[in-house]
């Protein structure tokens, strides 16, 4: 998937210090390739969410730079999935999913087919007119992913999207996400604090240290896709988990 080796995001010597003096990350350099699936793994509160928000240009960096090579270098080409589904409670599912296109002032006739396609992709057809509160946590998260994908982004950023879900829903959504990634041919940056989730999903895992975050390991997971339950039970998977786990621990000073 990442064979193209053309960089999509280039982070160069980036640092972010908040007004209160807290440094989220510093001296951080990283290249994310077009079409790749990269996980950013780190202990809680290490600044990985801030890094993700900086990549999305929702917050600036204090020094260094973050550069994109998106098609039009605009916002349209980034999809963002938050920790919570972050749906508008007053709007139906279809209005929520089509929000990015409505904000771009696309005519309704152009939105409808894309919206229906997205809802089908995340297995939510038939729930068009449901309100968020009428859906389960997993369904809301799938709607949130559909909304992020509707602009057909070159880059999909996910900030611990499945952390609040139960194990079974989480594994199902992991598989769904992989299927979507392979079909959509977008790049994914996935922030998580779960070693197992990151190994299962990623081509590459960036392990961050405690705050101020720096990269302690950059591990490639050389296992073919599609990955299945079999991969989860393989010795190879266990080895990777051990390796990533060790790297994660090396970044914590207890």
């Amino acid at each position: 998937m990442g064979d193209a080796q053309s960089p999509l995001v280039t982070i160069d010597q980036a640092a972010k210090t908040f007004e209160g003096g807290v440094t989220a990350f510093e001296n951080l350099s990283l290249t994310i390739d077009r079409g790749s699936f990269t996980s950013i793994l780190g202990p809680s509160g290490c600044g990985k969410s801030t890094l993700l928000r900086a990549i999305a240009n929702l917050t600036g960096v204090t020094s260094g730079s973050i550069g994109w090579k998106l098609e039009d270098n605009g916002h349209d080409s980034i999809g963002f999935v938050f920790q919570e589904p972050t749906l508008m409670p007053w709007a139906t599912l279809q209005r929520n999913v089509s929000l990015p296109l409505e904000l771009a002032r696309l005519p309704a006739a152009a939105i409808a087919p894309k919206r229906d396609h997205m809802l089908a992709l995340v297995d939510l057809s038939g729930f068009e007119n449901a309100y968020p509160r009428e859906l389960s946590g997993g369904m809301k998260m799938r709607a949130s992913i559909a909304r992020a994908l509707i602009t057909d982004p070159a880059l999909l950023l996910l900030d611990e999207p499945f952390a609040a879900l139960d194990e079974i829903t989480r594994e199902k959504l992991n598989d769904d996400l992989l299927a979507i990634w392979q079909r959509q041919a977008c790049s994914v940056v996935f922030v998580t604090h779960s070693v197992y989730e990151s190994v299962y999903l990623s081509e590459r895992i960036i392990v961050l240290s405690e705050r101020p975050a720096r990269i302690v390991a950059d591990i490639s997971i050389d296992a073919p896709y599609p990955r299945t339950q079999e991969f989860r039970l393989s010795p190879q998977y266990a080895d990777y988990c051990r390796q990533v786990s060790q790297a994660l621990r090396s970044g914590i000073s207890i």
Binding site: R53, A56, N57, L58, G74, H75, D76, I78, F80, F82, E84, T86, M88, P89, W90, A91, L99, P100, E102, L103, A104, Y131, P132, R133, T151
Partner: protein, 271 residues
């Protein structure tokens, strides 16, 4: 959910019948005690006497009720428009909010009875209805302003970032995020303001006093002066009914607008 058994027909009937039965018992005791102790009507009229007064003065009381209601509705609608508009301006300009909010508070905390004579003099006794309108508006305006401001500001920060990510304009943020988010707050403010607009109209009528005012409050003063206590009670009853009517109408509107999505108004039956 826990209230599943609160929806049986028996429970629903009890919800209506219980207060009704209590009310009837109260009225019957009232009637009985007045007869038993031979209480004079100018001290405490029996419910039957009040009913008779209501029928007897029906035409003039209706004219008065309409006068009060007209001022109340107009003041309420103007308070709604003004309150929401000013709240929107506040969220668009921090400078404007800093400059104006203290004065809105001053307007709110000054007792309306105290400003009423001044407003009456300024507006002139030949245009009492305008004065009443201004006074009722002053009372009704603030809950809408403060509730709407709160609702516009308390949007989900993640949703705000989402709108930012997709390059939403200020207008889009206002109409698609802030105003829908503020709807439950505005409706809560409307329920408070609806009642306050009526109170404001009544208080203003009391202050405006003789001849000029024609509303229910003035009927109460007039009947009191003439010791027509049953008529006084009849006017009071109509005022209460107006207040209850306004409250139910606004509650119904709230239910209609929020029942699909907001926790405060979810259909108990739909749970």
């Amino acid at each position: 959910m826990a209230d599943a058994n609160q929806n049986t027909p028996a429970q629903r009937a009890a919800k209506i019948l219980l207060p009704l039965a209590l009310g009837l018992f109260f009225l019957a005791s009232w009637e009985g005690l007045v007869a038993l102790y031979d209480i004079k009507p100018f001290v405490l009229p029996a419910p039957s006497a009040i009913g008779a007064a209501l029928v007897e003065n029906w035409a003039s009381l209706m004219v008065s009720a309409w006068a009060t209601l007209r001022v109340t509705i107009l003041a309420f609608v103007l308070a709604l428009i003004g309150g929401v508009a000013l709240a929107v301006l506040f969220t668009q300009s921090r400078l404007l909010e800093l400059a104006l909010f203290p004065y809105a508070v001053v307007l709110q905390v000054t007792p309306v009875v105290a400003i009423a004579p001044l407003i009456l003099i300024w507006v002139g006794f030949d245009r009492v209805e305008t004065a009443l309108l201004i006074l009722a508006w002053i009372v009704a305006f603030f809950p809408i302003l403060s509730n709407t401001t709160l609702g516009l500001k308390s949007t989900d920060p993640n949703l705000r970032e989402l709108f930012q990510l997709y390059g939403a304009s200020r207008w889009q943020v206002l109409t698609r995020l802030q105003l829908p988010n503020a709807t439950p707050y505005i409706l809560a403010g409307m329920k408070i303001s609806g009642g306050l607009a009526l109170i404001g109209a009544v208080v203003a009528e009391f202050v405006a006093g003789s001849g000029a005012a024609t509303g229910l409050a003035w009927r109460i003063v007039e009947a009191g002066n003439r010791l027509q206590i049953p008529k006084m009670f009849a006017a009071l009853l109509l005022l209460s009914l107006l207040g209850v009517g306004i409250f139910f109408l606004l509650s119904w509107l709230e239910h209609l607008l929020l029942r699909r999505w907001h926790e405060s108004a979810i259909d108990q039956n739909a749970r």
